[in-house]
Amino acid sequence: MCTYATEHVPATGSGKGANGWFRLSEVSVYFDHPAHALADHTLNLDFINPAQGPAARVAVELTAQTARELAKAIEAALASAPPGLA
């Protein structure tokens, strides 16, 4: 693939980028060529805050299998939290 198809998720939280911690405002999610991972395609996550500039970004590139396992693990972790917390 080489498209701009991207899911945008409004975000509340923080990320630690090259210049330290910053507040997140958005997560971009897309399946496309990676910049660094050794795979043809990866599930790419950009945790960003555009108001702070393009460098306010935590980037992750995951194989499809890893991304699916991570999605399950996130759901499982949330489900295991005590009632009312998550």
């Binding site: 080489c2 198809a5 060529h33 050794l38």
Partner: protein, 248 residues
């Protein structure tokens, strides 16, 4: 040819006369040369595409790669700038044309340039190479697996339009280098583009490499396919040699 070269970052006039960053590589010890505008792929103005610019210089061409993301992300690392551009839905086509046109003018003004200018792009830059060759005057153009020329993929931003309707405006011979396993563009799409160019008597030469998919020229990616890349480079040298040679 001794393959000596000089490479540096320069500032050029891009779209709307805005100053943008560009990477210039030019041959040393050569009194006359053609120019090549190199359009980077979606991951941006990165080291691997700068290496491609230096490769052109080692082969006797002045190569200039404008940073298409500089307008919105000056001084930012290429991958962060690319992510920001992607989050905004990419760079507008008219801005690309302005930046590529500025790069071509900069090349024409270099002492020793013979006035013959080509354009080449990879991935999204392949699409943009076709766009530039249909919007500006070039002497040769190369489209390396540019998607969204014939059909725009589902999910692409509304601003991204197919370019096949511009075919009758193609200003120069076109070399197309594609992967037989690529889905963006598919072999069916490139065949459709070829038929359309035939209908307008536009000179073009398309090669589709079996066993290669998208981005087969990218030496630092899993998509690299050595046989297609080596043969593809030979096609490029022959094509630019035919159309960009001559004394200043």
């Amino acid at each position: 040819m001794n393959e000596a070269l000089t490479a540096e970052t320069v500032m050029i006039k891009g779209h709307g006369d805005a100053e943008i960053e560009a990477y210039l590589a030019r041959p040393d010890g050569v009194d006359s040369f053609g120019g090549v505008v190199v359009i980077h792929h979606l991951p941006g103005y990165d080291s691997s595409t700068k290496e491609i610019a230096r490769r052109f210089a080692a082969h006797g061409y002045a190569a200039l790669m404008p940073n298409l993301y500089y307008h919105d992300s000056p001084g930012v690392s290429p991958d962060d700038a690319a992510a920001a551009a992607r989050a905004k839905g990419g760079v507008p086509d008219d801005q690309v044309v302005g930046d590529v046109g500025g790069a071509a003018e900069h090349l024409r003004g270099l002492p020793g340039c013979n006035g013959k200018i080509g354009v080449i792009g990879y991935c999204s830059g392949g699409r943009q190479s076709f766009l530039a060759a249909c919007s500006l005057t070039f002497d040769a153009a190369v489209d390396c697996y540019g998607g969204a020329v014939v059909h725009v993929p589902e999910g692409a931003p509304a601003s991204m339009k197919p370019l096949i309707g511009l075919s009758q405006n193609l200003s120069c011979p076109l070399l197309g280098l594609f992967g037989g396993d690529d889905q963006f563009p598919t072999p069916a799409e490139t065949a459709e583009l070829s038929r359309t160019l035939d209908s307008f008597n536009k000179a073009h030469e398309f090669h589709t490499f079996n066993g290669a998919g998208h981005a087969f020229f990218s030496v630092d990616r899993a998509s690299y396919r050595v046989e297609a890349a080596v043969e593809g480079w030979d096609k490029i040298w022959a094509f630019f040699g035919e159309h960009l040679s001559g004394k200043a």
